[in-house]
C-alpha cells in the first residue's frame, strides 16, 4: 500500500524545549492512524507541522508527495483539520458555516450550497441547519466541526481530540461517523482516550517527549508489552520509555 504521509527527521524546537525530536514515521493511504501520548508528548505539535500551521525547525514531511516545508499551499488543498476546540463561527448558522468553508476553499456559490446541503444530510444536521452554531449543544457543535472538515472531501483528515468533553452518546455517535470514514481517506487522530484509539485505529503510535516510543496495532502493542488491556500496554510503554 502507498504511503499517504512520509515524515523524515521532523523536529520542532520552541526556545530551549524540543517538542518533536527527529520523528520518522510513514502513514499508509486510507489508514486511520492514532497518535497517543500524555500531555506535552508532541502530538499536537506534530499535527500542527503536518497541517502547515507551524514550520518545522528541521526535517520535512510529505503529504501525498507534497512537502510541508516547500509546498504548503499544495498541502493545504488536500487536507482538512478538526481542531481540539470546536472550530465554528458562532454567529453563523450551521448551513452558513458549511458554505463558508466551501467558499474559503474556492468553490463557487452554487457548488457551496449543494455541498452544504449534502453534508447536512450526511451528518443528520437537518433539524439544526438554520440554527446559529452558538445555540447548539457541545455534541452538535463538534459534529458540525467535523462536518466542516469533511465538506471539501479531503484526502487527509486530522482529528485532534475529536471527542474531548463529549458525553457518552455524543461520543458514540462521533465514533460511528469516524468508523464510516475509515478507508475512504487517510485519518490521523490524536486522543487521550485509550478505548477510542483501540476501537477506531488501524495502527497506533505512542509518543513521549517528542519521540515515537512504539508503533503498531493495538493487539501488537499489547503483545509487545505482555499486557491484556491496551491501557496497561500504553502505561508500560510510556513509563518504560526514555525521557
Amino acid at each position: 500500500m502507498k504511503n499517504a504521509i512520509e515524515i523524515k527527521k521532523l523536529t520542532k524546537d520552541y526556545k530551549d524545549i524540543r517538542a518533536v525530536d527527529n520523528l520518522d514515521l510513514d502513514i499508509r493511504e486510507g489508514e486511520l492512524f492514532s497518535l497517543l501520548g500524555v500531555n506535552g508528548a508532541g502530538k499536537t505539535t506534530t499535527i500542527k507541522m503536518l497541517c502547515c500551521i507551524t514550520q518545522p525547525t528541521s526535517g520535512d514531511a510529505t503529504l501525498e508527495g507534497k512537502s510541508i516545508a516547500s509546498e504548503a499551499d499544495e498541502v493545504k488543498k488536500i487536507i482538512a483539520v478538526s481542531p481540539q476546540e470546536t472550530a465554528v463561527a458562532k454567529n453563523l448558522s450551521v448551513r452558513e458555516n458549511l458554505e463558508m468553508i466551501c467558499g474559503v476553499h474556492g468553490f463557487d456559490k452554487e457548488t457551496s450550497k449543494k455541498k452544504a446541503a449534502e453534508t447536512i444530510e450526511r451528518f443528520n444536521l437537518g433539524r439544526v441547519a438554520s440554527k446559529k452554531s452558538s445555540k447548539l449543544s457541545g455534541g452538535w457543535q463538534r459534529r458540525l466541526s467535523i462536518a466542516m472538515a469533511l465538506i471539501t472531501d479531503p484526502n487527509i483528515l486530522f482529528l485532534d481530540e475529536p471527542t474531548l468533553g463529549l458525553d457518552v452518546i455524543a461520543r458514540s455517535e462521533l465514533w460511528d461517523i469516524i468508523r464510516d470514514l475509515k478507508g475512504k481517506m487517510t485519518i490521523i487522530l490524536t486522543t487521550h482516550y485509550m478505548e477510542e484509539a483501540e476501537e477506531l485505529s488501524d495502527r497506533i503510535g505512542v509518543m513521549k517527549d517528542g519521540h515515537l516510543l512504539a508503533i503498531g496495532t493495538a493487539d501488537e502493542l499489547k503483545k509487545q508489552t505482555g499486557e491484556d488491556k491496551f491501557e496497561n500496554a500504553f502505561i508500560k510503554i510510556v513509563k518504560g520509555g526514555k525521557a
Binding site: C51, D73, V81, A87, N91, E96, V104
Partner: protein, 244 residues
Amino acid sequence: MRRMMAFASRVMKEILRDPLTVFFGLGFPIVVLLLLSLIQANIPVEMFEIQHLAPGITVFGLAFITLFSAQMISHDRNSALLTRLYTTPLKAHEFILGYTLPILPIAIAQTVCCYIVAILLGLKININLLWTILMNIIPSLFYIALGLLCGSAMTEKQVGGICGALLTNLSAWLSGIWFDIAMLGKAIGAFANALPFIHAVELERAILIGDMKAALPHLWWVVGYTLVTMVIAVFVFLRQMKRQ
C-alpha cells in the same frame, strides 16, 4: 477573490449579528447627536450647531468601528476557528482584506445614518454633503487599519480596555467635537494636533462648508496616519499569523 469574499462575508455577518455592535455602531452616535442638538435647542452654543456637530459625531462613531474590528480579530486569534482557517488555502492577503473590506460598508452606513439624522435636525442638503460622506472614507480607513493593528497585537481584554476606553476617549476629547481644544492649553493642544482625530473632524467640517483650501492640510494628516497605520497593521498581522 472568491476565497476572500467568502471569508469577508463571514466577518460581516458576525459583526452585524452582534446587537451591541448595532447599538454602539449606529445607535450611540445618533443618540449623542440628538442629545447635543437638544442642548443646542435650549442653550444655543456655536459648537453644537448641526453643521459643526454632525461631522464630528460621524468621525467619533468610527472609533466603535475600530473596537468591533479589533474585537473580532483578537477573538479569532484565540479561537480554534482561525487555526482551522490557517489550514485552508486562504492566503495572508486574503485574511487581511477579509477582515478589513467588510468593515468599510458598515462605516459608510454609519456615516450616512448620522447625516440622515442631521438632515432631520436641520442640516442643509447640498453637493458638499455628498463629498463629506465620500471623504469620510479616508478617516474610516484609518480607523479600520487601527482595528486590524489592535486586533493583531492585543488580547481581547486589552482591546476592550485600549480600544473601548482609551481610543473612544481620545476620539471624544482630543478631536474638538464638543469644545475648542485651545481651552485645554498649549501643551494638550499641540498633543491633540499631533494626533489624527482633530484633523479628521476638521477635514469633514471644511468639506461640508465647501472650503477645500482649509480641508487640504487636514487631509494630508489623515492620509499620512492612514498609510502608516495600514503598513504597521499589515506587518503586525503577518507577524502574528506566522507566530500562530
